[in-house]
Structures are given as C-alpha cells and as structure tokens.
C-alpha cells in the first residue's frame, strides 16, 4: 500500500485574504456599519495574502519561509479553516490538525494538562482519547511534573516543546506546524526531527512554518518563500532557501532586513 502522491493533500487556489487593523478613531462606527452589511467592509484592511496558489502532495513536507508579516501564519490559519478566504479557495483532503500554535493560545492560568484537555475537547476529542495521549505528550515534551504546573510558569522552551508535542500526538493526517522548531534546545530539535521523519514516512503531510533555515532544508521536500502576502518562489528547498538568503543579504546590506 502506498500513499497516492498524485492526490494533493492541500490545494490552495488564488487565495487572498486580509485582516482588519483596529484604528482607534472610527473603529466603533465602522464596526457597527460592518455588522449590518452582507459582505465585509473594504476599508482599513491590510492585505495578508494575495493570489496565493500551490499544491501540497500527500506524504510531502512543505516548508514555508519569509520575513515577519509575510503572511505565513495567516496562510496556515486559512488552510486550517480558521480564517475564511476573501477570494479563491482552499481544498483539504484528510483530517487536518486544527490545533495550530496552541502554545500561543494556551491559558497561562491553567496547567499544561488542563490546556491539553481544553484544546483537545474543543476540537472534538473525547476524554478517553485525551487521557491516553496526555502522558505521551508530557513525556515527549519532557515536562515531567511541570505538566501539572500553570503554563504561565513555563519557560519559552517548555512552551515550544509542549506546543509541538500536542500537534504531533493528536495524529492528524495533515499537520500544520507554526514556528515549532524555533524553541527548544538542539537536543529537542533533534527529537523533533526524528518525530517528523517518523510522521512523514508513514505518509502524512506536513506544512511547516519556520525561521530555522537549516532544519527546514533538511526536512522539507519543497519550500515556499512568501513576501508581503505573495509567493515569491516555490520549489526545491535548497534552491528556494538559497535565493531567500541571497535576498536577505541584499536587504540587510540595505539595512532593511529583520527576521
């Protein structure tokens, strides 16, 4: 049995979307105005994605790179179905991890265990399933007794480890991972690499947003470079990372680059 790689797990077609910036002045009346319109208002809108199209075949790893604000996280949210497209469409074939950077979404007053349970129940898992995987998640994230401590007391590394572990152990067919590799020490990153290899060799599909270019190069089967909401280059990871780094050097020489 093989995974049919000719069937794209994810098809993104002419996707455009934007988000609203809340200006202090006028936001209230604008909000009231929007509320009673059938289609969203077109004012005070920052385009986040513009005419983005690409496919992700089943069993592949797509690495998404780009500067802050390039639209990488927005892209993941669109694929997960959290943000609706304004134009175009997204087609997803398979169970998707609809729990994105839960690290960001975690409630600091709740313990790690409670956060896992809350997020898991939200996406429709049962307590039986959650009891089974919580131990695995805590072990993989090396939380030890900290799993019963409030997340607010965690270090950045612990949060990142927990975030990755949650996504990986929910066992979706299509994994969306946002910045998971930027946290954690090198030993944990190695573990992440192994886990991703394991997931991928079982035919699962991964979309990975990362600033860690080296890690991305070794793991991704293709790469997508985004800039200001548009796709600049899509293809072989080595080539895309190469041109991205060339671009970064030029920009930083001009003093305009920020990661």
């Amino acid at each position: 049995m093989t995974v049919d790689a000719t069937v794209p797990a994810i098809e993104v077609q002419n996707l455009s979307t934007s988000y609203r910036v809340h200006l202090d002045a006028g936001s209230t009346w604008g909000g009231i105005y929007d509320l009673f319109r059938r289609s969203p208002d077109t004012d005070r809108i920052v385009p986040a994605l513009r005419d983005v199209s690409f496919d992700v075949p089943r069993g592949s790893v797509l690495g998404v790179i780009g500067r802050n604000g390039a639209g990488k996280s927005t892209l993941l949210r669109c694929i997960a179905g959290i943000l609706p497209p304004e134009e175009g469409r997204v087609k997803v074939r398979g169970r998707i991890s609809s729990l994105l950077s839960i690290g960001v979404g975690m409630n600091p007053a709740l313990t790690g265990r409670e956060n896992i349970r809350l997020g898991g129940l939200a996406i429709g898992l049962t307590d039986d399933v959650l009891r089974d995987i919580t131990g695995d998640i805590a072990a993989f994230a090396q939380l030890g007794e900290y799993v019963d401590f409030p997340v607010g007391t965690y270090s950045t590394g612990m949060r990142a480890r927990l975030a990755f572990a949650v996504v990986a152990f929910l066992d979706p067919e299509i994994l969306l991972i946002d910045e998971a590799l930027s946290g954690g020490d090198s030993k944990f990153q190695e573990k992440v690499g192994h886990k991703m290899a394991e997931i991928c060799s079982s035919g699962r599909t991964i979309v990975l947003v990362s600033h860690g270019l080296a890690a991305l190069r070794s793991m991704a089967t293709s790469a997508l470079w985004m800039h200001q909401g548009q796709v600049v280059e899509h293809g072989d990871p080595d080539e895309v990372v190469e041109s991205y780094m060339r671009f970064a050097r030029i920009q930083s020489a001009a003093g305009e680059f920020d990661f």
């Binding site: 049995m1 093989t2 995974v3 979307t17 934007s18 988000y19 609203r20 910036v21 809340h22 936001s27 209230t28 909000g31 009231i32 509320l35 059938r38 289609s39 969203p40 089943r58 069993g59 790893v61 179905g81 959290i82 943000l83 609706p84 497209p85 304004e86 175009g88 469409r89 997204v90 087609k91 997803v92 074939r93 398979g94 169970r95 998707i96 609809s98 994105l100 839960i102 960001v104 979404g105 409630n107 007053a109 709740l110 409670e114 349970r117 997020g119 129940l121 939200a122 429709g124 049962t126 991703m196 290899a197 394991e198 991928c200 060799s201 079982s202 035919g203 070794s218 793991m219 089967t221």
Partner: protein, 293 residues
C-alpha cells in the same frame, strides 16, 4: 526526510474527509449539524466554564462559598438602600429582594461571561476550529453553578421568614426555562456585538446594571403601575420585565402570575434564542479575522 524512503514504515491510508474553504457571505450553516456539534462538545463547555471560574475565588479563605455570599451581600445592600429611601422594609420585602437578586444573578453571570467569551478565548479561536457558540454557552454552566446553592439558601429564608407557599410554585421550573432561553438569546447577541464593537466589552457592565434596574428585581413591579403609559410600554420592551414580575407574583404575592405577562415572557423566550443564534452563527466565520489585529 527524503533520506528515509517511504515503505520502511507502515503507510497509513487517509480518511476521505474533505474540506473546502471558500469566501463567506454571512450565510447560515446547516443549523442542525451545528447544534449537534455544539451538543457533542458538552465536556468542552464545562471545562471552559471551569477554566474561566478558576481565578476569581482561588486562594480566598471562603473559596467557593463566595458564590452564595456575593449575591447575598448584594441583596442586603439593595434592601438597605431601598428601605432607607422608602422607609419601608420587613420580611416580605426581604424575601422579594433576595429572590429577585438570586434569580437575576443567573442572567447577570450568563451575559457578563458569555458576552465576553469570544475575546477571552482569543487564543483558542485563532488556533483551532470548533463551533464558537460553545464559548458563550459555557457561561450557562457558571450561571447554574451559582444558582444551585442560592436556591437552597432562598428556600431556607422562605421558610424561616414565613413566605407563603402555593400550588403556583410548580410553575417556577417552567419560568426558569423561559429565563434560560431569554438569557441564551441575549448572550449570543452580546457576544457577537463584543467582537465587532470593541467598546461593548466596557459597556457591558453598565448595560447589565441598567438591565437590572429596569427589571423588577429590587422593587415590586406593581410599583411602576403609576408610571405614565409610554414609560410603562418602554419597560415592557425589556425581555425580562414580565418574567420577573411573574416571579414576584408567585414568590411574594402568593398568587398566580398574570397570563398575559406569562405569554409575553414565553414569546421573548421563543424569539430571542432564534434571533441570537442566527445572528451569532451567521457572523462567527468573521470572528477570527477581527480578533487577529
């Protein structure tokens, strides 16, 4: 990744789940499927309510006991004020204020927590997909949790202070159902408004206080009969007005509620949840976009 060739591990087949995400136009999803989805997430709603409740009384000496003390103190303060202003008090009046405040507390909690539920759960909303109506609805659990013990306390007061008991008491559960329905409707409307109009979050507390004063909670509804007709009509636009005057007729009056008032409450209880639900659900796909900024 390409270094581990496919086939070394067991390849697992994909399920045939397929999603298509397209631009939305504030249209309604399949309501029945949505309701089923919400019902399936009962455990989530309870967990979410418990998460919200976790902080306020944590570490206090009296702990959860505050859930009774808080509304009780409120009732005593209002009673003192009203007695001081009108120079009239007595056990009848005491029972009326306590029952009013305890019952109104359910709606108060529902609207206070439910109205802000989407913004409070911003992290979850932006990072996962689930029926968002579960967020405000989980405030109902908090409301019931506070209502339970206060009902027990009230029963005790009612007996001690010699409140009258009649067969009309059997109607109370039905009226509570009407109150829950009205609360759900208002809660969903407030929750939607809070996402679109950020000032709502600040305004909410004042609106709730106003709502309490235009509802016969701490004064007898009959007292407003002297008001000019137009004001009286305006007060009846408050969905809780007739319901609370019915509560008073039963609990303090010892009689049966006015059928007309009861019908009016039932009408609100039928219309508001439908309107609120449609309003919320047709706009929830746009929530994430507005929370992002």
């Amino acid at each position: 990744m390409s270094s581990s060739p496919p086939g070394t591990n067991v390849l697992r087949e994909y399920s045939d789940v397929e999603y298509t995400f397209e631009p939305h136009d504030n249209s309604l999803p399949d309501i029945r499927a949505y309701m089923a989805d919400v019902w399936d997430r009962r455990a989530f709603m309870v967990a979410n309510a418990r998460a919200e409740m976790k902080s306020p009384y944590a570490g206090t000496v009296l702990g959860d006991f505050w859930r009774i003390l808080d509304p009780l103190f409120q009732a005593l303060i209002y009673m003192f004020l009203f007695t001081a202003i009108r120079g009239r008090g007595g056990s009848d009046y005491f029972l009326m204020v306590v029952s009013g405040v305890f019952l109104f507390n359910f709606t108060m909690v529902g609207l206070r927590d439910g109205g802000r539920a989407i913004q409070k759960a911003k992290g979850l909303v932006l990072n996962s997909t689930f029926p968002l109506a579960t967020l405000p609805l989980s405030a109902l659990y908090t409301g019931f949790l506070e209502l339970g013990p206060t009902v027990a306390v009230y029963v005790l007061f009612h007996v001690v202070f010699g409140g009258s008991v009649s067969s009309a008491f059997l109607m109370l559960p039905l009226m509570l159902c009407l109150q829950v329905a009205i609360t759900v409707g208002m809660m969903l409307i407030f929750a939607t408004l809070t996402v679109y109009v950020r000032d709502m979050a600040n305004l909410l507390d004042y609106l709730l206080r106003i709502l309490m004063f235009i509802t016969p909670v701490i004064y007898p509804a009959a007292q407003l009969d002297a008001l000019p007709g137009i004001l009286h009509t305006l007060l009846h636009l408050n969905p809780l007005f007739t319901l609370f005057s019915c509560y008073q007729s039963i609990l303090s009056g010892g009689g049966t509620p006015d059928p007309g008032a009861l019908m009016q409450s039932a009408a609100w209880a039928l219309v508001l949840p439908v309107v609120g639900f449609r309003f919320f659900v047709s706009r929830e796909r746009g929530f994430a976009m507005r929370l992002q900024g």
